[in-house]
């Protein structure tokens, strides 16, 4: 999906922070017993992180990557 260049830039600038947060919190979720197959919970979590980026409705692209990172972290930590 193609987004406007201005929006993409802003997400790219902050992506490291959100990626790190997704990775770290994904690992904590795994430590707390959340499994990769708990996709509904991981999706909700990714949405929370995406909302921190300042968007009421997170962009699909950014959100999906956060979801991926959170799920990957959850899998890796187990």
């Amino acid at each position: 999906m193609k987004n406007g260049p201005e929006e993409d830039d802003s997400m790219d600038d902050s992506m490291d922070v959100w990626t790190r947060l997704a990775r770290e919190s994904g690992a904590v979720l795994a430590e707390l017993g959340v499994r990769p197959e708990d996709s509904g919970w991981i999706r909700e979590h990714a949405e929370s992180i995406a909302s921190l980026a300042g968007r009421a409705r997170p962009k699909r692209r950014g959100y999906l990557s956060l979801f991926r990172f959170a799920r990957k972290a959850a899998r890796k930590a187990r």
């Binding site: 430590e31 707390l32 017993g33 959340v34 499994r35 509904g40 979590h45």
Partner: protein
Amino acid sequence: MQSPFSEGGAELHVRRLTEELVARGVEADLVTIPLIERERFDLVRSALAWRSLDVTEFGGRPVDAVVATRFPSYAVRHPNKVVWVIHQYRQAYDQFGSPWSDFTASKEDRRARETIAEIDRLGLSEARRVFANSRTVAARLRKYNGIESEPLYHPPPLVGRYRTGPPGDYALSVGRLDGWKRPDLPLRALVHAPEARLVAVGRGPEEERLKRLARELDLEPRVQWVPEAGDEALLELYAGARLVVVAPEGEDLGYVPLEAFLSGKPVLTTDDAGGPLEFVIDGETGFVVPPTPEALGAALRLAWERGEALEALGRRGFARASELSWDATIQTLLAAAGLDVP
């Protein structure tokens, strides 16, 4: 962990613990995060919030130890963590399958229960020491989580201010009017004890239903509802009671029996009450009966017919509850954290 807009025993407990630490020269502060329970993931989110907190130092000053008390605050990370369990998430454990738990057999609820157990295992197993606020809670931790803990009792919130008085003309019931606390039992018991009166302190979701029940059973003239009582009013009610009725099932500890004893009153409770049974001994400090209106009613009748025996029971209860002190409790907690009492 805090339940906004409500103050029960757990909230009083952590506030008093902080005050008692400060009073002994310990630099202590209370950290709370509201527990949101709208959906299952909220519970995990709350645990995540605690787990994500770095409480090892504030403003460059190290924090020597943390004492965590409730689910899921004990998920907090600290190299010197002591847990004093006063509340697990009981809906996922012993209350599961009862009317007091809304967990179903759905996949999400099963996963939520498994995750709650995992959070408990993680948060408790890494603690330097685990205490429970009663033997009942310790037994539950062993049964459901395989975790050993040591019961650590503490005095009730208004210790030092309770006062005694001669047996009055009402049975006192104190507590939130929640279904699992069975507030209808003392009420229904009145049907079988025609002389007895009841003063019920507390409010909660069952309030209207109970008032309706009192009307239906034609008990209104013998029941006084006190939705809220400040400290002084509560002390007065304890001091003026004939005896105190404690009817919940599987209570963790419950301050009410200890408050009753420190007010010189015997306690009438049920044989499935849990924590209260660690203090209420039938015929010694009170009455322990099956959880039926008839049995409670029979005990109330006895209390009205044999008033002279109540004072002796109350005196023994007073002696038992007087053994508990914050000095000993704080010393145990600090020693567990490897800290000296200042």
